[in-house]
């Protein structure tokens, strides 16, 4: 009994993976990213953690988009991906410049803005 999947048929699958699980995954990922950002000293690893946090947000967008049957969440995901790409490009460029200029990318050694 093949049915054309439209409308309410989504509800079936929601039972398979409930919204709360996806949100939980998103929260866990975000927490991992945050803690990683706070504890890792390498700028590259911090950048990776930022990517993790962004993608945690993306998962939450998608989950809610499916839950509300709306495309707005998808649009935001694309925006976030674009921003993340730009952020990674700029961030990596900064890190390269830092490595050349200061000879290190350990953020605890880069403290010349200390007041």
């Amino acid at each position: 009994m093949q049915q054309h999947r439209t409308g309410p048929a989504w509800g079936q699958e929601e039972k398979l993976i409930p919204l709360s699980h996806t949100i939980l995954l998103s929260a866990v990922l975000f927490a991992v990213g945050t803690v990683g950002f706070l504890v890792r000293r390498s700028a590259v690893m911090m950048l990776v953690c930022v990517e993790i946090m962004l993608n945690a947000a993306n998962i939450a967008f998608i989950a809610f988009a499916r839950h509300h049957l709306s495309m707005a969440g998808h649009i935001w995901v694309f925006v976030v991906i674009t921003v993340a790409a730009g952020e990674a490009a700029i961030g990596l460029a900064l890190i390269v410049a830092l490595a050349r200029e200061r000879g290190t990318i350990q953020v605890d050694e880069l403290r010349s803005l200390k007041g």
Binding site: T34, F37, L38, V39, V107, D108, L110, L113, K114, G115
Partner: protein, 613 residues
């Protein structure tokens, strides 16, 4: 075409020329320009005076309109009448002789050109002061001569004495200037004009309803005069002013500038007369000054200091003469005094020149044969100062005393003070002469020599005037009588007897006492010490005014400025910001992850607040 403003303008051009080219101009050129401009001024004044004699009442000229304040026009008006004309003649005439003398006296001084520039500037301001017909312009001249006096007292600024003396002269004069300014403001407010000729005409009407105002104006003008003309209580600057070059003492601090106050009184007689008390105050202060200064002059040892106190004393006479009677007597004494006091100062300069800089008269002596021209001219000057017949001083002094005798209730007391002063004057004059020119030559070093002709010629000319000017008494009284009220009748024989008697007794006493006696070194004893220490007036002023003022300055400097402003306000606000910075500075530790942590904590707190409230 006669232009009155040319008289002061010519010396100004001389000042500008010498002053601007000071470094490049040769001394010879500076001397020629300096002397000839003053001579030219004298000739123009003479021409003006001749026109007056031909019947003109006054020559006036407006240089330009300085400012118009509403209805009040401030115009640079110059006016040459009998009174200002005779002053202009004295200023430029005596001024010229002293310029000439200075060429010899200042010979070899490093500041020769600067000296002549200042001297020309002084003549300009002095002529502006006497010829101005606008009170504000008079004030410009008044302040200008004060400035030149300051510059020339402090002319040898590398030495230790002149700069403080110059500052003292300036500061003491400032008190008098306060009086001048206040009187000017009162007159402007009440009469509504600053033009002197208009003021003299309309002031009596304007002050009719406000007699206290007239009293105030009169006393304030007199306050101005006490500053400039060195009267009690503001005379203390004049003796110290002798720190300047001797010709400057002769020109500024004896013959011309210090008589500006007397001239001011004579000029404003119609306003002073509105309240007779003003004239009484002037006459009394003049008498007190004359007596006090004569007493101080008795025991001074500095050749110029004796003359300085005698100037103060004679200025007191002039004030008596200008207040009592019609004022002509005071102006006539001013004229004769200009001759003989300039002569005495220049003679003193010649003596100092001969002695190689020595100024202590107890260390001189016997200069009669060594500097004969100086001696004979000084003798004439001294006799004129003592008021002996037939020198000029005799006539002018008697004229004053005759006026004083019949002046008000206190006339007899003031007359007695005047006669006593005449005796004392003769006494210290004799002492001065004896110690310098008679007896043994007491200085161990240096061979005195007569001064060059450029110095002795002015001495001789001034001696001639000091001797003969008195004979022009009636002509002068008639001439100046056009402006002031001419004296009536002749000097009574009783006055002549008293004044001349006192003079002769004083002279004889002085000659006899100092014939062989020379005051030894060290402080004098008894009453002489009171005179030598100048009645401790400087010390009293020091204790009453200078020290409290300095104390107040120190308190304000250390507590108000140092404590309140510097420590509390300026450094306090700095310290406050610094302390606040020290507290919050650890937040900015440069660790990006600490900042992030703070953001996270803040974010969580904000979310928590939103969710649970």
């Amino acid at each position: 075409m006669f232009r009155v403003w040319a008289i002061p303008l010519i010396p100004l051009l001389g000042f500008v020329y010498i002053g601007l080219l000071s470094r490049r101009l040769s001394r010879r050129a500076a001397a020629i320009v300096g002397c000839s401009t003053v001579a030219l001024s004298f000739l123009v004044s003479l021409e003006g005076a001749l026109q007056l004699l031909r019947g003109e009442e006054a020559l006036t000229a407006t240089f330009y309109t300085w400012a118009s304040l509403g209805d009040t026009l401030v115009r640079l008006d110059y006016r040459l009448d009998a009174l200002s004309g005779s002053m202009a003649l004295i200023v430029s005439g005596v001024g010229f002789l002293i310029h000439l003398y200075s060429v010899g006296y200042m010979h070899g001084d490093r500041g020769f050109n600067r000296y002549f520039a200042f001297l020309n500037l002084f003549i300009f301001f002095m002529l502006t002061l006497v010829l101005s017909d606008n009170l504000l312009l008079t004030f410009v001249g008044w302040e200008g001569v004060g400035l030149c006096s300051y510059l020339l007292i402090g002319f040898w600024y590398e030495k230790s004495d002149p700069p403080p003396a110059a500052v003292k002269a300036f500061v003491v004069n400032r008190i008098g200037d306060f009086g001048f300014l206040t009187a000017m403001v009162l007159l402007l407010a009440q009469v509504g004009t600053l033009s002197i000729s208009e003021l003299l005409q309309s002031a009596p009407g304007a002050f009719e309803a406000w007699p206290v105002g007239a009293l105030a104006v009169g006393l304030l003008l007199f306050l101005a005069a006490t500053g400039k003309s060195a009267q009690v209580p503001l005379y203390v600057w004049l003796p110290d002013a002798m720190a300047g070059p001797t010709p400057v003492s002769a020109l500024i601090h004896a013959a011309t500038m210090v008589t500006a106050g007397v001239y001011l009184m004579a000029r404003f007689r119609p306003i002073l007369e509105l309240q007779p008390q003003v004239l009484e105050v002037i006459c009394a202060v003049g008498a007190v000054t004359a007596l006090l200064a004569a007493l101080i002059a008795l025991a001074q040892r500095d050749i110029k200091r004796v003359l300085a106190y005698s100037t103060v004393s004679q200025l007191g006479y002039m004030f008596m003469g200008v207040a009592a009677g019609g004022g002509v007597a005071g102006m006539f004494h001013l004229t004769t005094h200009a001759f003989f006091k300039a002569l005495l100062f220049l003679g003193a300069g010649s003596v100092i020149h001969a002695m190689g800089g020595e100024q202590d008269i107890t260390k001189m002596g016997g200069l009669r044969s060594k500097t004969p021209i100086t001696f004979w001219t000084c003798l004439v000057g001294a006799l004129a100062l003592a008021g002996l017949f037939p020198t000029a001083g005799f006539y002018s002094k008697d004229l004053i005393l005759a006026d004083v005798l019949h002046f008000g209730e206190w006339g007899r007391i003031l007359f007695a003070m005047g006669v006593l002063t005449a005796g004392l004057t003769a006494f210290y004059t004799a002492r001065w002469l004896m110690l310098i020119f008679f007896g043994e030559y007491r200085s161990p070093h240096h061979h005195p020599h007569e001064s060059p002709a450029v110095m002795t010629v002015p001495l001789v000319l001034l001696a001639i005037f000091s001797f003969g000017a008195g004979w022009g008494e009636h002509a002068y009284a008639h001439f100046v009588g056009r402006v002031l009220e001419p004296p009536e009748g002749h000097v009574p024989g009783q006055v002549i007897a008293w004044a001349s008697g006192a003079g002769i007794v004083g002279l004889l006493a002085g000659f006899l006492r100092y014939r062989s006696l020379v005051p030894g070194p060290g402080p004098a004893k008894g009453l002489a010490r009171v005179s030598e220490r100048k009645f401790w007036v400087d010390e009293i002023y020091d204790a009453l005014i200078v020290r409290p003022y300095q104390f107040l300055s120190k308190v304000i400097a250390s507590w108000v400025d140092g404590g309140l402003i510097d420590t509390a306000l300026v450094n306090g606000s700095g310290a406050l910001v610094r302390a606040a910075g020290r507290i919050v500075r650890p937040l900015q530790n440069g660790q990006i992850q600490v900042y992030t942590l703070a953001m996270m904590v803040g974010l969580v707190a904000a979310l928590g607040w939103m969710l649970w409230s």
